[in-house]
């Protein structure tokens, strides 16, 4: 009979799950309810927790300023477990069962596309943080907070090569090595084309599968190719592993660029000296000349430290997340409405000042300008080095 009791208990849990999911929709008055999912557990959780903290900071600040349209803002965030199919179902729940007023996007391209499909079916505006492949975003009411531009495969490599062309001794040869992770791969392929057009000689092109841990053979091939520049299409710790492998064979690339490295480990490891990457925001002037940005940086630093984050500075992910909330607030305040269509129309027609610069959404697939800048590890910190207008005071690109 004890076994039967166990079954009954488990059945009750399952029933509870269904029952809770079926809670009646809350009334339309009262707080403005904004719903989203984040990969709070699973392989993407380390970065998603940054977005959760930024969202909490922003909503708290927003409510301290009186909320939106005179109403308190309530943010419901659910855990999509790093699975796009769960993200889709949770967004369905947010829209059709929880009946939230507005949506905020999830983290990672797969989940964003899942959420975008739901938003499209229910005509909801979807502002999202860091979607890496603009060509996939076809919905006319989606708005990217990460200002990649509509064709980052061309514009991002051009920004990099522009920066390097300004060096006293610009690179003439390039090795392009890349993960086959979708949002990296197309940028690396774009870099090949751009390099070719700009007259850089490609001395090596290699790919590895996402999840690879053995970078020794790749490091050896790069060393043999003797490139002036190594363009690394990496994400997370891949770049660190490649540089460690290079160090083991006593090789230090003259110039090395990394697409989406883990910011903390890439800034602090000894072998990552002078690593280049892309950014939209770093914790220095001129970004922090904006008082909103300065306040956010101070708050984020303290809260991230308290939360035990391994990297407590504001960089791309946190800045994009903050920007997304800025866009939503700007649209609601300007239109004095929660109507999704009105908000979308306003965003399409206007430019929004944010902590990463002024964003607009009038180009392909609702992307606007490519605001990606080049940053470099200098003395254990990331500093923007290009373009000069956004460079840290006195910072220039360092070479060996």
């Amino acid at each position: 009979m004890k076994s039967l009791k166990r079954i009954a208990t488990l059945a009750a849990i399952a029933a509870g799950c269904l029952g809770l999911a079926a809670l009646p929709a809350q009334a339309q008055s009262g707080p403005i309810r904004i719903g989203s999912t984040l990969a709070l557990t699973g392989p993407l959780s380390a970065t998603a927790l940054v977005h959760k903290l930024v969202g909490e900071i922003y909503v708290e600040d927003l409510n301290s300023r009186g909320g939106l349209l005179g109403r308190k803002v309530e943010w419901t965030v659910k855990d999509d477990q790093s699975k796009p199919e769960v993200a889709r179902t949770l967004y369905e729940q947010l829209v059709t069962s929880d009946k939230v007023d507005l949506l905020m996007g999830p983290y990672a391209t797969g989940a964003i596309l899942s959420a975008m499909g739901v938003a499209q079916r229910y005509n909801k505006i979807l502002i999202h943080h860091t979607m890496g492949i603009p060509s996939l975003a076809k919905y006319d009411m989606h708005f990217p907070a990460w200002s990649l531009g509509p064709d980052p495969g061309t514009t991002v490599p051009n920004t990099l090569f522009d920066a390097l062309a300004a060096l006293p001794k610009p690179p003439k040869t390039v090795a392009i090595v890349t993960s086959k992770f979708p949002s990296l791969h197309f940028l690396s392929l774009g870099a090949r084309e751009v390099a070719k057009k700009r007259g850089l000689q490609e001395v090596l092109f290699l790919e590895w599968e996402f999840g690879n841990r053995d970078f020794g053979p790749i490091a050896a091939r790069v060393k043999d190719a003797k490139p002036d520049l190594v363009f690394v299409g990496d994400i997370g710790l891949e770049g660190n592993m490649l540089l460690e492998a290079m160090k083991k064979i006593d090789y230090e690339p003259p110039l090395h660029f990394h697409l989406y490295p883990a910011p903390g480990p890439m800034a602090t490891a000894p072998e990552t000296k002078n690593a280049l990457s892309v950014t939209i925001f770093e914790e220095h002037a001129p970004y922090t000349n904006n008082p909103v940005a300065a306040k956010f940086v101070a708050t984020y630093n303290a809260r991230a430290k308290a939360a035990g984050f391994p990297y407590t500075k504001v960089e791309v992910q946190a800045a994009a997340s903050f920007t997304a909330w800025q866009l939503l607030e700007a649209a609601v305040v300007a239109t004095k409405s929660l109507d999704d269509r009105k908000l979308a129309d306003w965003l399409k027609a206007n430019q929004v000042p944010t902590i990463q610069g002024t964003l607009r959404f009038d180009k392909g697939n609702n992307f606007g300008d490519d605001l990606m800048r080049i940053k470099q590890v200098q003395n254990g910190n990331w500093v923007t080095v290009w373009p000069k207008a956004w460079a840290a005071p006195g910072a220039t690109i360092k070479t060996q």
Binding site: A22, K52, V77, E85, V86, R88, T109, S114, E209
Partner: protein, 585 residues
């Protein structure tokens, strides 16, 4: 097969089909779709791995083959989506059959080796897809793909596809479970070698099960491609898919047709219950803890535990009724009927039969005949080759040389199940019943696959007769582990008889029995022969050999050293020397 259950599956499916028109929040379609998705994957995994015991960690590969089959055809080439689903099924099934056709031929690729091999297939397939035009790196985007209108909305259409696939999967799972095919798969699970010897075409059955399992996983993948709408290699071929389905199946009960579905519903609901952002990590830890506790206390799964509890309630006292016969036996060996005169017709002819193991000739050029209706004693010292001979004539071993001509057909080199189907049955010296089948199921299984070749229904009826014959009626629903040695030996006999063999080989059925049990067994063997069955009787209990056999053959070091009348043969010097050794005075 219980048609009520089958009708119930379709009726419940029809009820769920009404959901999109009931006006409930569309989220339910999405959530229920996820339930259907995991039900299909877990139940399809179970058709191979639960039923046969071939634990696969490669279900993600077959699921992925289906996803990419549909995604590539619909997203890249532009096929109509519905047309891609049969392709997804075929691609996944073909992949499975290709794999199975190779690995199922290798007897040592079982257990963990099979699990690792299937896991490796996942990585190989992911690498191929990532490095070819099928994907090439960027993934496949499916938002623009037209989804056939099967409901009032796009979500409802996907829901309907998931529902239909889940209903079909459950129906297939039940039909297999309740069929002769399913019984064969369960026999493979419990003891594949014995299953083959009892007549199950194990290779073919495993291949069929794998094809069905993979095809259904491919179908789940094909539908899922449009549900997630953006397909990438890293997410598709994640280890999470096979781990989840294994967990679901074990939790629900992998021995039952609906067990994995129960596990799939339980785990999916549990995971969904803990999606609140405030306690996400705590929630996931709780899910893990709950699963650990459930599995610890219910190792055979929810349905396994229920079945165990039910058996415990209905289990009668562990008494053994005496074997069914016309007159009660006395303590002495008494023949119930006159010893029938054996025919001169030859039933089995063995010519030059040889089996060598790395140079050791365990059976060496043996030539003998077995006549219809006789009991031929096969004796010899330990290691003389008797059991190897039985293994050869039952097809368990393939001979190195020689012929095994049974009723005019040379069976040498054929698979063991062909021997059983031809009418040859055997018992094992150490009983090898199918451990998770009841006594009744053990006997019925042989009636289905042995020489009798009965349908499942006929076999179950016939099994009761043979169980009664062996005096095991009151233990019909017990598992073999609950039987004592005597009962297990008699189960071996009942099982062999259920095959309705024309040749029965008894391998030391009397060893380990008490004198009175031996008498009982001897009397039963007499009655078996009296039913017209020819018997090869391997035994060390010489009083039984002398009492039962018409002729005896003596093996020593694999070679036949004597044959003929029992009394005469036992007096031959070569036989005495084989048993007692030569005098070197």
């Amino acid at each position: 097969m219980n048609k009520v259950i089958l009708s119930g599956i379709f009726a419940i499916g029809a009820a769920f089909a009404a959901l999109p028109w009931l006006g409930v929040p569309a989220f339910w379609e999405s959530f229920l779709y996820l339930l259907f998705h995991w039900i299909i994957l877990a139940v399809s995994w179970n058709i191979l791995s639960g039923y046969t015991g071939y634990f696969s960690f490669g279900h993600g590969a077959f699921f992925g083959a289906g996803i990419y089959g549909s995604a590539y055809l619909a997203g890249t080439i532009g096929w109509p989506f519905l047309a891609t689903l049969p392709a997804a099924i075929l691609v996944a099934a073909a992949l499975g059959v290709g794999l199975g056709a190779v690995v199922f031929r290798v007897a040592r690729v079982r257990g963990e080796l099979f699990a690792l091999l299937t896991l490796a297939i996942t990585f190989v397939l992911a690498t191929i897809i990532l490095n070819t035009k099928i994907d090439g790196g960027p993934g496949i985007y499916l938002i623009g793909v037209d989804i056939p209108k099967l409901g009032p909305s796009q979500s409802a259409s996907i829901y309907m596809m998931g529902l239909v696939a889940a209903v079909v999967t459950l129906a297939i799972s039940y039909i297999i479970y309740a069929s002769k095919f399913g019984t064969g798969l369960f026999a493979i699970h419990d003891d594949e070698d014995v299953a083959e010897v009892m007549g199950v075409p194990t290779y073919r059955y495993k291949l069929y099960a794998l094809a069905i399992s993979c095809g259904l996983a491919g179908l789940a993948g094909g539908i899922h491609a449009v549900f997630i709408s953006y397909v990438t290699v890293s997410e598709t071929f994640s280890i999470a898919v096979p781990l989840s389905v294994v967990l679901m199946s074990i939790l629900g009960g992998s021995r039952h047709w609906i067990g994995p579905a129960v596990g799939a519903v339980f785990i999916t609901c549990l995971l969904y219950f803990f999606t609140s952002g405030d306690y996400a990590v705590f929630g996931r830890a709780m899910v893990g803890l709950i699963l650990v506790i459930v599995i610890l206390f219910m190792p055979s799964g929810v349905l396994g535990m229920i079945a165990q509890w039910w058996r415990g309630r209905t289990r009668p006292a562990a008494a053994v009724s005496p074997p069914v016969h016309e007159a009660a036996p006395t303590a002495a060996i008494v023949r119930l009927a006159a010893k029938p005169a054996p025919s001169t017709d030859v039933l089995l002819q063995v010519r030059g039969l040889t089996k060598a193991f790395a140079g050791l000739r365990a059976v060496d050029n043996v030539t003998l005949e077995v006549r219809k209706g006789e009991i031929l004693g096969l004796i010899g010292p330990n290691g003389s080759g008797k059991s190897t001979f039985i293994n050869l004539v039952s097809g368990h071993f393939k001979p190195t040389a020689g012929e095994i001509i049974f009723e005019g057909q040379n069976l040498a080199g054929l698979d063991a199940h062909r021997f059983a189907q031809a009418g040859i049955a055997r018992t094992y010296q150490i009983p090898r019943p199918f451990s998770q089948m009841t006594v009744l199921e053990n006997v019925a299984m042989v009636a289905m696959f042995g020489g009798a070749g009965m349908s499942r229904t006929e076999a179950l009826q016939a099994a009761e007769e043979f169980i009664a014959f062996a005096g095991l009626s009151q233990r019909a629903h017990a598992l073999p582990d609950d039987l004592n040695l005597h009962q297990r030996k008699f189960l071996e006999l009942a099982r062999a008889l259920a095959a309705r063999p024309r040749l029965l080989m008894l391998d030391e059925v009397l060893s380990g029995l008490t004198p009175s049990e031996i008498n009982e067994a001897i009397e039963m063997i007499q009655r078996i022969r009296d039913r017209g069955t020819t018997i090869i009787f391997v035994e060390h209990v010489m009083r039984a050999v002398m009492a039962l056999t018409d002729r005896i053959v003596v093996l020593n070091y694999g070679a036949m050293i004597a044959q003929g009348n029992a009394t005469d043969v036992m007096n031959e010097d070569s036989v005495k020397a084989a048993y007692l050794g030569k005098a070197h005075a």
